[in-house]
């Protein structure tokens, strides 16, 4: 099984390798896979106030196809809104990278990684809003707000 040139390209020149600050409230972190399976992807997104992913970073423990899938994923989601990124399908990754059947699961994991990062980001946003609501407003409307 020879590697497709696209997979090799992403391996030799991976896009967006790195780490964003997990503690940053605008950063969502997705960590999917397991060492026991031979595939672990960490994908992070930094989302601005307008809901646009302005930066994305990844790190992957896995084969060439896994590295390429996650590298491609970060490339695609940058500049998209969170809603747009959420509908990226693994089949698109398979097509772009010419993944053979035995490597399709790498693309599935990349799709999961995007969704996982988005879910983490959304959860952080929801938690922040909950905190904002719970904090008493100066006029004492907190009782109504909590209802």
């Amino acid at each position: 099984m020879a590697y497709s040139t696209k997979v090799i390209e992403h391996y030799e020149n991976p896009r967006n390798v790195g780490t964003l600050d997990k503690a940053d409230p605008n950063v969502g972190t997705g960590l999917v896979g397991a060492p026991a399976c031979g595939d672990v992807m960490r994908l992070q997104i930094k989302v601005n106030d307008r809901g646009v992913i302005e930066d994305a970073k990844f790190k992957t423990f896995g084969c060439g196809s896994a590295i390429a899938s996650s590298s491609l994923a970060t490339e695609w989601i940058k500049g998209k809104t969170v809603d747009e990124a959420e509908v990226i399908k693994n089949s698109q990754i398979v097509e772009e990278l010419d993944l053979p059947p035995v490597k399709i699961h790498c693309s599935v994991l990349a799709e999961d990684a995007i969704k996982s990062a988005i879910a983490d980001y959304r959860k952080k946003q929801a938690d922040r809003r909950a905190v904002a609501i719970a904090t008493p407003a100066p006029s004492g409307e907190s009782a109504e707000a909590r209802a």
């Binding site: 590697y3 999917v32 031979g38 672990v40 423990f61 599935v108």
Partner: protein
């Protein structure tokens, strides 16, 4: 001297044919093309002469007393099948129990699985963390229904050499037949069918710088006389044990390959061990978190199997794409399961996924070793920069404590 790419360091999967072996084979394709079973003319006689010569060399290589004890087959897979099924069928009335190990080649394991479906009882002995089977485990497993013990000489993945002499002493004492798949070790590590009390031995040419498509089964003729039921019926070749016209050119090559090992095997093993140790040192001196799989001392001279923690095996193989090696990673097998041999050692799944097997051989050079070591260090370092696991490790996170969301 310029390096030639790609560099081949996968000599456990196969070996290049030695030019001397090729030279020995050619006449039997062109001018001396007779069928060795043709008793009535010179074409047959000269073919038979080549076959006899090869039989003698192979017998000498393994310490057999009589060249008649060498039966030619299409390869070690067929030899394993012939040995195990042949013994099982012949001894069906005496007993139905076979003992083997979990780290055997699939040719042995799958044959045993088939026999289990036919009502045979197979014990698969476990191995230690170094891959060695304990002879006492063999002793404990033998019952009065045991008809065969099969233990490989050396493992193809991790290079571990089994204690055949100790096991042979036990099987002799209990009167049980002893078979060994000696494919990886013959001519490279100490091996002698008399000292090890072996009744059957599987061999192949393509792991010893001979051609693919030819192997042999040693079948002892005295003390004890081993009887097997043939698996290939036909013209009664090989004393009725394996019918089929002999592949004379391949056999001529096999014989020459054996002859070369008789004269050069010892020196070659010393050279390969030194090169292998150098490769290991050059890598482990510059990388941390690298683990050796298999025994450090009882090991095939050219074999080095290392796990590079936090880096996946196939990814690493792609990174060193001008070097041919192999990996115990699931990604490289069609089944997505990591190597069953590494599993048997107790190596965790994630280290199994991170393993690379280097197989040095006759035609590798020290220059290649130095180059490959440097390349491996460079690529592992780079892949660790891409690895979330390495980052977590550096941050002091215990990976075993993480709740992974596997799918």
């Amino acid at each position: 001297m310029a390096l030639k790419f790609p560099i081949f360091m996968d000599n456990h999967s196969t070996t290049p044919v030695d030019p001397r072996v090729l030279e020995a084979m050619l006449p039997y394709f062109t001018t001396k093309f007779g069928n060795a079973a043709s008793r009535n003319h010179a074409f047959g006689w000269e073919a038979e002469e080549a076959v006899d010569y090869a039989r003698e060399r192979i017998a000498q290589l393994i310490g057999a007393r009589d060249s008649k004890e060498i039966v030619f087959t299409s390869g070690a897979t067929e030899s394993d099948n012939l040995a195990i099924k042949g013994v099982a069928e012949f001894n069906r009335d005496k007993g139905n129990h076979i003992i083997t190990t979990v780290t055997e080649h699939k040719a042995v394991l799958d044959t045993c699985k088939r026999l289990e479906k036919q009502g045979f009882d197979v014990t698969y002995l476990g191995v230690g963390t170094d891959g060695r089977v304990d002879p006492d485990d063999v002793k404990r497993a033998i019952t009065d229904k045991t008809i065969l013990v099969s233990v490989m000489l050396a493992n193809n993945e991790i290079g571990t050499v089994q204690p055949l002499e100790a096991i042979g002493a036990i099987t002799r004492e209990r009167g049980v037949l002893f078979h060994s798949d000696a494919v990886q070790g013959v001519g490279k590590v100490d091996f002698d069918v008399q000292r090890m009390n072996l009744g059957l031995v599987s061999l192949t040419a393509h792991k010893m710088y001979g051609p693919k498509g030819i192997g042999a089964l040693y079948v002892r003729r005295s003390r004890p006389r081993v009887r097997i039921v043939a698996q290939m019926d036909g013209g009664g070749h090989e004393r009725g044990m394996r019918s089929g016209t002999l592949a004379v050119p391949l056999i001529a090559g096999f014989g020459r390959a054996a002859e070369i090992l008789i004269h050069e095997g010892k020196a070659e093993s010393a050279r390969l061990s030194a090169m292998r140790d150098r490769l290991r040192a050059l890598i482990t001196d510059r990388l941390d978190e690298v683990y050796l799989n298999g025994s450090a001392t009882h090991r095939l001279p050219g074999n080095l199997n290392l796990s590079f923690n936090f880096v996946e095996g196939e990814g690493l193989m792609m990174a060193i794409k001008d070097v041919a090696v192999s990996s115990g990673s699931a990604c490289t097998s069609a089944s997505l399961e990591p190597s069953y041999v590494l599993r048997a050692l107790g190596v965790g799944d994630e280290l199994a996924h991170s393993s690379i097997r280097f197989g040095l051989g006759r035609f590798n050079t020290e220059e290649e070793v130095d180059y490959v070591a440097g390349l491996v260090v460079e690529k592992v370092t780079r892949l660790r920069e891409l690895s979330p696991l390495y980052e977590m490790h550096q941050d002091g996170i215990d990976l075993k404590s993480v709740q992974w969301v596997a799918h």
